[in-house]
C-alpha cells in the first residue's frame, strides 16, 4: 500500500508541477472567458451609424410619434413626400419613410416605402419593420374597435405539465417541461465532461505507459513493485490530475467569465442560443429565458443534487478506471512503434464515441429503450447515465447500472493488468489481439 501511495504521489506531482500543466490549466479558462467576451461583443454589435429618418404618414397611423430606437431618429416634418425628396440632398435626413394610409383593415400585408440613396441593411430594415408592425397593430385595434383585454385573452400559451401517477406529488417530484430542458442541459454538460475526462486522461495514461516502456525504466520499477501496482498507481495518479484540473476549471471559468463580463460590460447571457447548452430549450426567446430564470433556478435547486453529484463521481470513477486501464494495457503492448497504436486503440475509442452519440439521444428522450439499455451497459453507462440523472431515472436502473459497472471495473482492470505485466517487458514483438489474449493466459 505504501509503495502504491508513493507511485500515485509521483505520478500526480510530476504532472501538476509541470509548466505545461500549469499553463493549460490557467490559460484555458482565460481563453474561454476571452472567447465568450468576443462572441458576446460580436453579437451585441449594432450598426453604429445613426440615421435620421423623416416619416411621411398621410393616414396618421403613427399619430406623429415613433420612439427613437436602434440608432434611428425619427421625425415627422410637415412637408410633402415630393418636397422632401426634392430637398433630400440639402436636408439633414438620411432617408424618408413613407407610410401609406390603410384602405382595407382586413389586409394582412402592409408595404412601406423607404426612400434613400444609402442602402438599408437587413438588420436595420427588420428593426424598423418590427417597430412599425406593433404600431400598425395598435392602430388596427383602435380602428376596428376591439377590446384590448379580450384580445390578450386570445393569446394562449399551451404547456404540458407532466404529473406522476405514483409517488409523492410534492415540489421536488413534480417535473415540469422546464425540468426536462434543464435536465437536458445538465445531462449534456455532464456527458461532455465525462467524455473529455475519459478520453484525455486515458490517452495520457497510455502515453505515459509507452514512455516508461521505451525509457526502460519500467524494468527497474517492477523489480521493486508489482506491475499491477505500477499500472494502477499511474491510473489513479493521472485520474487525480484530471480531477484537479476539472476542479480548477469549475472555479476559474465562471470566475474569469464574470471578470471579463465586468471589464468589457458584455453580458454573457446575451451570447446566442447556440452557444449556451440549452438543447431542450431551443426555440426559446431570450426574453422567455430571462422571464423564466427564477423558475429555472428553482428547478435546478429542486434537482436531487445530493444524489446526482455523488453518482456523477461514481460513474466518472468507474468509467475512468475501465477506460484508463484499457489504455494502459494498449500502451504496454505498443512499445516502440507509434503506428501500431491505432489498430489497438480503435477498439477502445469506438465505444467511447458511440456512448457520446447515444448520450445526445438520451437527453432528448431519456426513457427510450436505447437510452435505458445504454445507461446500463458498462462501456456506455459512464457517459450515458450521468446525462440521464437529471431526469430522475428509476432506482433499479441506477442500481443495475452501478452493479454492471462495478463488475466491468473489476474485469477490465484485471484483464488489463494481465496484459500490462507481459506487455511492458516485450520488445520488438508485434502485438495482435491474439497475442494479447495469449498474454492474459500466461500464468504469471
Amino acid at each position: 500500500m505504501n509503495k502504491l501511495w508513493l507511485i500515485i504521489k509521483r505520478e500526480y506531482l510530476t504532472r501538476v508541477t509541470r509548466k505545461q500543466f500549469i499553463l493549460t490549466t490557467l490559460i484555458t479558462p482565460v481563453a474561454f472567458a476571452i472567447f465568450f467576451a468576443i462572441v458576446g461583443f460580436i453579437f451585441s454589435y449594432q450598426s453604429d451609424a445613426g440615421s435620421k429618418v423623416a416619416v411621411v404618414d398621410p393616414g396618421n397611423i403613427l399619430e406623429k410619434s415613433l420612439p427613437d430606437s436602434r440608432n434611428f431618429y425619427f421625425s415627422f416634418p410637415d412637408d410633402s413626400l415630393a418636397a422632401l425628396k426634392a430637398n433630400m440632398a440639402s436636408s439633414e435626413y438620411d432617408g424618408i419613410l413613407y407610410i401609406p394610409p390603410i384602405d382595407n383593415l382586413s389586409d394582412t400585408r402592409f408595404k412601406l416605402l423607404y426612400y434613400s440613396d444609402k442602402s438599408l441593411d437587413l438588420d436595420r430594415s427588420e428593426a424598423m419593420e418590427s417597430l412599425i408592425a406593433e404600431r400598425v397593430r395598435d392602430y388596427k385595434i383602435g380602428a376596428l374597435k376591439f377590446d384590448t383585454k379580450q384580445l390578450e385573452a386570445l393569446d394562449v400559451k399551451v404547456t404540458i405539465d407532466p404529473e406522476p401517477i405514483f409517488g409523492k406529488d410534492d415540489e421536488a417530484n413534480n417535473p415540469t417541461t422546464i425540468t426536462s430542458a434543464i435536465g437536458a442541459g445538465i445531462g449534456a454538460v455532464m456527458g461532455i465532461i465525462m467524455y473529455m475526462m475519459v478520453f484525455l486522461n486515458g490517452a495520457m495514461v497510455m502515453r505515459s505507459v509507452m514512455e516508461e516502456k521505451m525509457n526502460r525504466i519500467v524494468e527497474v520499477m517492477i523489480s521493486s513493485v508489482k506491475p499491477f501496482q505500477l499500472m494502477i498507481g499511474k491510473v489513479i495518479g493521472v485520474g487525480a490530475v484530471g480531477m484537479t484540473q476539472m476542479l480548477i476549471w469549475a472555479i476559474l471559468i465562471p470566475l474569469f467569465g464574470l471578470i471579463v463580463s465586468l471589464i468589457f460590460g458584455t453580458d454573457m447571457s446575451s451570447a446566442p442560443p447556440g452557444m449556451t447548452p440549452n438543447m431542450g430549450g431551443a426555440g426559446m426567446q431570450p426574453e422567455d429565458i430571462e422571464a423564466s430564470l427564477p423558475m429555472i433556478m428553482q428547478e435546478i435547486g429542486n434537482l436531487n443534487w445530493w444524489l446526482i453529484i455523488p453518482l456523477f463521481f461514481i460513474f466518472f470513477l468507474g468509467g475512468y478506471l475501465v477506460y484508463a486501464s484499457l489504455f494502459a494495457a494498449v500502451g504496454s503492448a505498443i512499445g516502440d512503434d507509434l503506428g501500431e497504436s491505432n489498430s489497438l486503440t480503435l477498439p477502445i475509442t469506438i465505444p467511447v464515441i458511440l456512448a457520446f452519440y447515444i448520450m445526445f439521444v438520451a437527453i432528448r428522450s431519456p426513457n427510450s429503450s436505447l437510452a435505458v439499455w445504454a445507461s446500463i451497459f458498462p462501456l456506455f453507462s459512464p457517459i450515458v447515465m450521468p446525462a440521464r440523472l437529471a431526469f430522475n431515472p428509476p432506482a433499479w436502473q441506477i442500481i443495475l447500472s452501478l452493479l454492471f459497472l462495478a463488475g466491468a471495473v473489476i474485469f477490465f482492470v484485471w484483464i488489463s493488468g494481465r496484459i500490462y505485466r507481459v506487455g511492458i517487458l516485450m520488445y520488438g514483438k508485434k502485438a495482435s489481439f491474439k497475442e494479447l489474449w495469449k498474454w492474459v493466459r500466461y500464468s504469471n
Binding site: 509503495k3 508513493l6 507511485i7 509521483r10 510530476t14 509541470r18 516508461e212 525509457n215 526502460r216 525504466i217 519500467v218 524494468e219 527497474v220 520499477m221 517492477i222 523489480s223 521493486s224 513493485v225 508489482k226 506491475p227 505485466r421 517487458l425 495469449k438 500466461y442 500464468s443 504469471n444
Partner: protein
C-alpha cells in the same frame, strides 16, 4: 554458510517456448557469481524470476534460506541490461523515489544519496534533470539507483555494455568493494574475459539449461587439457624425442601432455637430463571462453544426437 540464493528446478515457459528449463544453482554468500550464456540462453528470464518481476512456472527460488517473498526485492538491487530512468525527473528526486520504493525512509534515502553523490563527486547534480546528463553521467546515476538501499544481493545484467572505460573501471572497483563489504553479486554477461577477472563462481546457461556451474578455479581445473608449456634454450636431440612425446610449437617452445603432476615432473626431468636449458614451464589452463565454447558445443551435439 548457507548460500544467499538457491534455485531448485526452476522452469519458465512462454507458451510453447521453454525459456528456463529445470535450472538449479546456488550463489554462495559473499561471492561474485557469473551468469554466463550466449544471447537468448535464458539469463534475463532467470534474473527476472529471481528479482520477482515474473514468477517461475515450476521450481523454487530460495533467498537467505527461505522461499522468496514479496519483501525480498528490498534486499536485492537490480541493474537491467537496458538501463532506464525517468528523463524528466531530477537526479535527487528520482533516486529518493527509487530508494523509497525499495523500502527506505525518506531520511535514510537522503542520507544514503548524499553519501553516494559525494563519493562520486557529483553532489552538484542533485537538481539536474536526467535528460540534461550525458550518457556516462546517467550510467553513474543508474548504478547508484541499484545500490542505494544496500542490497544483500546485487544483480547486474551486462553491466559493462555501453560503458565508457572510465565508468566501467568505476563499476568494477565498486563491485569489488561491495564484495568486501559482504554483498553477494550476480553478474550476467556473455563476455567471457570479464568473468575471469571478476567472478569467483559461475554458471553456464545454454538454451535454458544449466550446463555447467561451480567455482571458477575448480572449473578451470576440471577443463584443463593437462598440457604443459616449456620455454628452453639449446638443441633438441633425437634421443630425447624418442624417450618422451614432445610437440614443438616454435623454436624455443615446446609442449607436452601429462595426466598428473608427477608425470609432468618425470617428463621435465628427462628433458633436463638431455642437457636443455629450461627458462620457464607452466601448465596451460583453459580460458573461460574455451570452456564456454567447448561446453556449448558439447551441449549442442548432445541435443542433436
Amino acid at each position: 554458510m548457507a548460500p544467499i540464493l538457491e534455485g531448485k528446478n526452476v522452469v519458465k515457459r512462454y507458451g510453447q517456448y521453454v525459456a528456463v528449463d529445470r535450472i538449479s544453482f546456488a550463489v554462495p554468500q559473499g561471492s561474485i557469481f557469473g551468469l554466463l550464456g550466449p544471447n537468448g540462453a535464458g539469463k534475463t528470464s532467470l534474473i527476472r524470476i529471481i528479482t520477482g518481476i515474473t514468477g517461475a512456472d515450476e521450481g523454487e527460488i530460495w533467498f537467505e534460506g527461505k522461499p522468496i517473498t514479496n519483501r525480498h526485492p528490498e534486499r536485492i538491487g537490480y541493474m537491467p541490461e537496458e538501463r532506464g530512468l525517468y528523463k524528466k525527473m531530477k537526479v535527487g528526486e528520482q533516486l529518493i523515489y527509487l530508494a523509497r520504493l525499495k523500502g527506505m525512509t525518506e531520511a535514510a534515502a537522503k542520507a544514503a544519496l548524499k553519501h553516494w553523490l559525494d563519493k562520486f563527486e557529483i553532489g552538484h547534480w542533485w537538481n539536474k534533470k536526467i535528460d540534461e546528463l550525458s550518457k556516462g553521467m546517467s550510467q553513474k546515476i543508474q548504478f547508484i539507483a541499484t545500490v542505494i538501499h544496500e542490497p544483500a544481493l546485487l544483480i547486474l545484467d551486462e553491466p559493462f555494455s555501453g560503458l565508457d572505460p572510465i565508468n566501467a573501471n568505476m563499476i568494477e572497483r565498486e563491485i569489488h568493494q561491495m564484495k568486501q563489504n559482504g554483498t553477494s553479486i550476480i553478474f550476467s554477461t556473455h563476455r567471457m574475459e570479464q568473468v575471469e577477472t571478476i567472478c569467483d563462481h559461475l554458471m553456464l546457461v545454454n538454451q535454458g539449461e544449466n550446463i555447467l556451474w561451480g567455482e571458477v578455479a575448480e572449473i578451470k581445473n576440471r577443463f584443463k587439457p593437462n598440457q604443459f608449456e616449456v620455454q628452453f634454450r639449446g638443441e633438441l636431440s633425437a634421443e630425447l624425442m624418442a624417450k618422451v612425446e614432445l610437440q614443438i610449437l616454435n623454436p624455443g617452445h615446446l609442449m607436452f601432455k601429462a595426466e598428473s603432476e608427477q608425470e609432468a615432473n618425470r617428463i621435465l626431468r628427462v628433458i633436463l637430463d638431455s642437457g636443455l636449458m629450461i627458462s620457464s614451464m607452466h601448465e596451460i589452463l583453459p580460458s573461460i571462453n574455451d570452456i564456454f565454447i567447448q561446453s556449448v558445443e558439447a551441449d549442442l551435439s548432445q541435443i542433436s544426437a
